[in-house]
């Protein structure tokens, strides 16, 4: 169970989409950055637009060993 890629670099204003290819639900959660996807069911997707420069560490609320980072430049 992991995010792929585990590190992603994007530009300010980019929209990032996560697609759940697993058989169990996941979330994209970064409390500090105010990001909370809510439940992403298997096969479903969720997107967010990143509007400021930041290094965002996020995890899955259900499976906290799943961690990744997005660098917004």
């Amino acid at each position: 169970m992991k995010y792929r890629p585990e590190r992603l670099e994007v530009a300010v204003g980019d929209t990032v989409t996560w697609t759940n290819r697993d058989v169990v639900p996941h979330t994209v959660t970064a409390q500090a950055a105010g990001i909370e996807s809510g439940n992403i069911a298997p096969g479903a997707s969720w997107s967010t637009t990143l509007r400021s420069r930041a290094e965002i560490d996020y995890l899955c609320r259900y499976h906290p060993t799943m961690k990744a980072v997005i660098v917004v430049r």
């Binding site: 169970m1 697993d22 058989v23 169990v24 639900p25 069911a41 298997p42 259900y62």
Partner: protein, 170 residues
């Protein structure tokens, strides 16, 4: 030592298969194995006072319910009707015994028994996936679903092992 004995006892139903299971039997084993862990999770969520154990139990309910939903959808799509087998029956028997045992326990003793069993159970399921279910599944999509489920089971096992260390300290 106790945990090891539990693993052996649990792997027995899978290992004792006289014949290779058919796809309907494999579907039946998948559905049964998931439902058993959902039921145990519901009991643990209601009985445990330990936040970490409750979180784990909720994860088991969420994940194994999700897998079963997809297994049911796939079985319907393929026209495969899940069938009982000696394996699914012995899984159910083992689950009844485990639930009866857990219902008598409380507090830290409950947490330890629940988590020990979850470690043994997920290890047994992982072995069954590798040695019985994947090698014998004939339909590519059924096999594909089981392969896709494996990382979740491995993650559950890792999580349960981690909890085993924490509850042992209490």
């Amino acid at each position: 030592m106790k945990a090891l004995a539990a693993v052996l006892a649990l792997s027995l139903p899978f290992a004792a298969l006289a014949q290779a299971p058919t796809d309907p039997q494999i579907a039946g084993i998948v559905v049964t194995a998931n439902q058993i862990d959902v039921d145990a999770g519901k009991l643990a969520k209601a009985k445990s006072k330990n936040k970490e154990v409750q979180k784990f139990a909720q994860q088991m309910i969420t994940d194994h319910s999700a897998v079963n939903k997809q297994a049911a959808a796939l079985a319907k799509k393929l026209g495969v009707k899940p069938e009982e087998s000696d394996t699914s029956r012995s899984l159910k028997q083992g689950a009844r015994e485990n639930m009866a045992k857990l219902k008598k326990l409380k507090g830290a003793a409950f947490d330890k028994a629940y988590i020990d069993h979850e470690v043994a159970y997920h290890q047994a399921v992982l072995d069954a996936i590798d040695k019985v279910l994947v090698p014998n599944a004939q339909n590519a999509e059924l096999k594909g679903l089981i392969v896709k489920v494996r990382p979740a089971i491995a993650a559950h096992l890792e999580h349960a092992r981690h909890l085993q260390e924490t509850v042992a300290k209490k």
